[in-house]
């Protein structure tokens, strides 16, 4: 017995199905009824019912790549804010190996890093690392935070959505699984990227979003393009 359709909006406590179905993310079983535990959209994949939350906090998971900001320097580690209920630690050994150096000569409070979650223990102590391709410190650019559950929507199928934004705005964009997005480009383009990313977050649960984002991008970037040729025309007669 099933009481909902794919992509329905459900709220905590809604009864979704009975008996032969399995519980996925965002659901729980009570007696033989499967209930929703969050506000979200239904996703049914062969007899497994999940609810994709519309809003959530990032819970660190081993192997994730995240963007974090350094909040404190301790004796042998850095503390980082990773937009989560749990702060992360970056041990000095992850950066220097066995070598001993001053911590603040490498990273300082306020620096923004791209990191990998190396380990999360049972009391949610989050150990971070910098080993891997593309990991390290960001210079300049802006940070935008979105709800972590909407990260897949922002990236799109095989990166279609994010590549579209990159192509239109000519910005470098890095998305952390914790919902923090780093954007670097021309200031005007950064603002456009921010606006588009916020729109995607707001409308993530609606259909036909890719097309709307494409229209929005060409409209916003189109205005920019129109302005530049005008300036060039004015300069030419001189």
């Amino acid at each position: 017995m099933i009481f909902v359709k794919d992509k329905d909006i459900v709220i905590p406590g809604d009864i979704l199905a009975e008996n032969e179905y399995h519980t996925g993310r965002g659901t729980f079983k009570e007696e033989n009824k499967i209930c929703s535990s969050v506000v979200g959209l239904i996703a049914i994949r062969n007899k497994k019912i999940s609810v994709i939350p519309l809003q959530s906090k990032y819970i660190p998971k081993k192997g994730d790549v995240v963007i974090g900001e350094i909040t404190d320097i301790r004796f042998s580690m850095w503390n980082l804010d990773i937009n989560s209920p749990y702060s992360g630690i970056l041990p000095a050994s992850e950066v220097f190996g066995k070598e001993k150096r001053e911590l603040n000569s490498v990273f300082n409070v306020g620096d923004v890093l791209f990191l990998r979650v190396v380990d999360v223990d049972e009391v949610k102590k989050v150990k971070l690392g910098l080993k891997g391709r593309g990991l390290g410190k960001f210079r300049d650019g802006i940070l935008i935070s979105i709800t972590p559950t909407k990260v897949p929507r922002l990236i799109g199928k095989k990166g279609s959505m994010i590549n579209m934004i990159k192509d239109h705005t000519k910005c470098e964009i890095v998305v952390g699984q914790n919902g923090v997005v780093w954007v670097k480009g021309e200031p005007a383009m950064e603002r456009i990227a921010e606006k588009v990313i916020k729109t995607i977050e707001k409308e993530a649960h609606t259909s036909g979003l890719t097309d709307r984002v494409r229209d929005m991008l060409s409209e916003l970037c189109g205005e920019e393009k129109e302005e530049t040729p005008e300036k060039e025309n004015k300069e030419l007669p001189e």
Binding site: S37, Q55, K57
Partner: protein
């Protein structure tokens, strides 16, 4: 000549014994809170903000196996006719405590060990039954914050005024009536998470009032569901 109109079974404000005051709930009203709700029940106006789960800095209060819920119920100085002295008092400390205890059973706290969930309930205007309005709105705000919950919590009061068992007491009925019985339940299973009583009821009246309050809770629950769904455009 003085004509006294006795409208049978009708109350001072013209309601039936089992009639709620007009109710309006809106979810997601605050931009910077993780979850929020605004509720109007008759003359009550309540604003709730939820922050969290977030990192908890008070070490000795941290729970290694689950999150804790901290509530603050606060009445604005202008919420009642005579100015209320601002700041916590005995009554608001009690309501803060019972609110957090009423909400606790519904939230899957074990999913967020060592963290805290902060609930701020601000009473902008009071007209009797603010603790119930606060709990009802707080539960909507918790759901809006995306917290995993077993069910919504819904709260409603019943009581006895003018010798009659009635639902959803207004301020006058609360002050001059014989008894007040606030109840909070999880509507799907019918589990009771809050039950207080102030005044005197016979066992029969108590049963009747409890049934009436649960009936009222189920009505309010429909509005809660509508409010959350409306937030995401349905």
């Amino acid at each position: 000549m003085i004509i006294i109109i006795i409208n049978n079974n009708k109350r001072a404000d013209g309601r039936d014994f089992n009639e709620l005051r007009p109710l309006k709930i809106e979810a997601g009203v605050l931009e910077r809170a993780d979850g929020s709700a605004y509720l109007e029940l008759g003359g009550n106006k309540v604003l709730v903000a939820v922050y969290g789960p977030r990192e908890f800095y008070i070490r000795r209060m941290q729970r290694p196996d689950r999150a804790i819920i901290r509530c603050r119920y606060n009445m604005a100085p202008f919420s009642v006719e005579d100015r209320k002295r601002p700041g916590p008092d005995r009554r608001s400390v009690e309501i803060s405590k019972i609110t957090s205890e009423a909400l606790k059973p519904a939230v899957f706290l074990e999913k967020f060990p060592r963290s805290t969930i902060d609930v701020f309930i601000e009473i902008l205007q009071a007209e009797g039954g603010t603790r119930c309005a606060g709990i009802t709105a707080a539960s909507v705000a918790l759901a809006d914050a995306g917290l995993p919950m077993k069910d919504l919590i819904v709260s409603c009061a019943a009581g006895k005024a003018n010798g009659q068992v009635v639902l959803d007491l207004s301020e006058i009925e609360d002050k001059e009536g014989e008894a007040d019985l606030p109840v909070a339940i999880m509507p799907r299973t019918g589990e009771i998470t809050l039950l207080q009583m102030d005044g005197h009821l016979t066992p029969e009246e108590f049963e009747k009032a409890l049934d009436l309050a649960i009936e009222g809770c189920n009505k309010i629950n429909q509005k809660q569901k509508e409010a959350i769904k409306k937030r995401y455009g349905e």
